[in-house]
Symmetry: C2
Subunit: 334 residues, 2 copies
């Protein structure tokens, strides 16, 4: 659940039992937040966007938290927990077409914590930061009864006037997604690589209308983009790039949901979902293949008028509800 | 305990049982943090300072968290909890001589939380934000087994080249403190007003050598400033401005420690501690009285060579240890 920018929480692996109350709460909380002249984009996108007085750029500002028992477990290697904590924020900066610059790290620790765990978290976080040129400029650890948690705050930059928002999708746009979706809990949620280079390349070479990173799951995140843009969307069932992990888990019976359902709803894929004018779609696919031959890019459908998300197969189109869940059994795999 | 910028945690009211291990951990963690060309001041001051490409200003960047059972209790009104969560960050921006601009709010909530509590938190936080022109540009709530917590991330600005650091104190400087100290747990820790206007006035009118906000307690925070500046300090026992709350609590036997010990060690005063050249001290006191007639400003001692913090009374000088605690019984009030 989300008040404003960024990936909704509880994220993929977590389940929420009070979903409607939470959404109502968000609605109330995001009404009338204080604002000022520096705010370009406030609550409601992957990052907030601020005019920080620079002639050539805007500031991106984002926080994200991971919580023990929700986003990671006691078995999760601390290095991967630190990687994930920063990676989630980096993925949000990617979704704006931006470049991350500096991070602050806050860690809540129960009594009797293991210092080696904290060091492991920093090791994983620092390694990812170095790979992307991000400075870690401090933070704190604080006592926290209950489970441990890590909150990362990030600032970054985007060329002035060039932030890619969720709100720019237009009817007729082609919808693209990077990578493969679903089954992230099998491992990917802890070691995904944020799509920073890919996103910057996209915005430098094509008119990307709208973009979001996939944290809540394809159906939910596409809904966020639809809501922000005031449009509907139609997905082509056979085009959804279902991950091997999702297929394996479904085949082995690890999870009750079919692999396609996993791809639509699992969350924490941390891939990019974006839209471009349909006339740009073929050129984009060709250029992408040359630039990123090892990362799949798939056109999964199109933006339409209205507010509805539908899933089309050879038998027709079915409406997906807000979470992609409720009517899903009827749309189970053929 | 603190990795880098800002008030050390666990803050005043909380007690730490593994203090030495925590400090050792900090030492390890702050060695070799990733950095980049945008970093002006990294880990270790009240805020990080970044060059965000603006010709006239630097960016201040800070996070701070409050945790249920540590920084507030179930009895704390949620409006005051929200006030405190943002106020702590604002106090750190004040300590740099800066102006806050935008905040992101992350709230961790256990299952079955009361939505009205969250709304109360936002109400208190938003009210303080509005008074200081701060935009709240989003954030998130996340599931959190255990107690609730609020992590606030803040960006602000300071005129380029004009950030007041902890590291500028020089032997011979006069040490000043605003307000009165100790006994914050009686109420002040939840409704203090961050000294933003006072700090800006100070840096606009006087050459402030070093500044820090009092979150860990006078003795601890002065130690932070001493360590950053490579100096010692001598406090005049009779000059310490002990709060009425600290005196009342000591008199009633609410706490075992004498009022002066409370003023030195309680923490969460959120007053400003700063140093100026001794030749500026009298002019500063005179100008302050005209500008802020209702807020006490006290010269409590001087910066000296060395690394030692001493407390002087008419019988001589006693050394205070790193926390101001260990030898304190011997220095109990006369």
């Amino acid at each position: 659940m989300n008040v404003g920018p960024g990936a909704g929480d509880p994220a993929g692996p977590a389940d929420s039992t009070t979903e409607m109350n939470e959404w109502e709460l968000i609605e109330r909380l995001t009404r009338g937040l204080p604002t000022n002249a520096a705010v370009v984009v406030g609550a409601g996108d992957d990052c907030a966007v601020l005019d920080a007085g620079a002639a050539d750029r805007w500031l991106l500002f984002k926080t994200d938290a991971v919580v023990g028992g929700v986003h990671f477990t006691e078995e999760s290697p601390p290095e991967k927990v630190g990687h994930k904590a920063l990676g989630r924020c980096l993925s949000d900066v990617a979704a704006m077409g931006g470049t991350p610059s500096a991070a602050l790290v806050t860690i809540g620790l129960p009594a009797g914590f293991d210092p080696a765990w904290v060091e492991g978290v920093y090791a994983g976080l620092n390694a990812l930061a170095r790979r992307h040129g991000v400075a870690v400029v401090g933070g704190e650890t604080t006592a926290s009864p209950g489970s441990q948690w890590i909150s990362v705050a990030l600032v970054g930059f985007v060329p002035r006037g060039r932030a890619v928002l969720r709100s720019g999708a237009q009817p007729g746009d082609a919808i693209f997604v990077t990578g493969e979706l679903g089954g992230s809990l099998a491992g990917r949620h802890l070691d995904f690589e944020p799509r920073l280079a890919e996103a910057r390349w996209l915005v430098e070479h094509f008119a990307i209308h709208a973009m979001i990173d996939l944290s809540d799951g394809l159906a939910s995140d596409l809904r966020h983009l639809m809501r922000a843009s005031g449009v509907g969307a139609e997905l082509l069932k056979s085009a959804i790039p279902v991950s091997r992990a999702a297929k394996e888990r479904a085949r082995r019976g690890d999870v009750a949901k079919p692999a396609l359902a996993a791809a639509l709803t699992d969350g924490e894929d941390f891939e990019l979902l974006f839209t471009v004018a349909s006339r740009d779609a073929v050129a984009l696919v060709d250029a992408w293949k040359r630039q990123f031959p090892n990362l799949r890019l798939t056109c999964i459908g199109k933006i339409v008028e209205g507010h509805t998300l539908t899933l089309r197969d050879r038998h027709g189109a079915q409406v997906l509800d807000a979470r992609g869940y409720v009517h899903f059994e009827a749309a189970a795999e053929e």
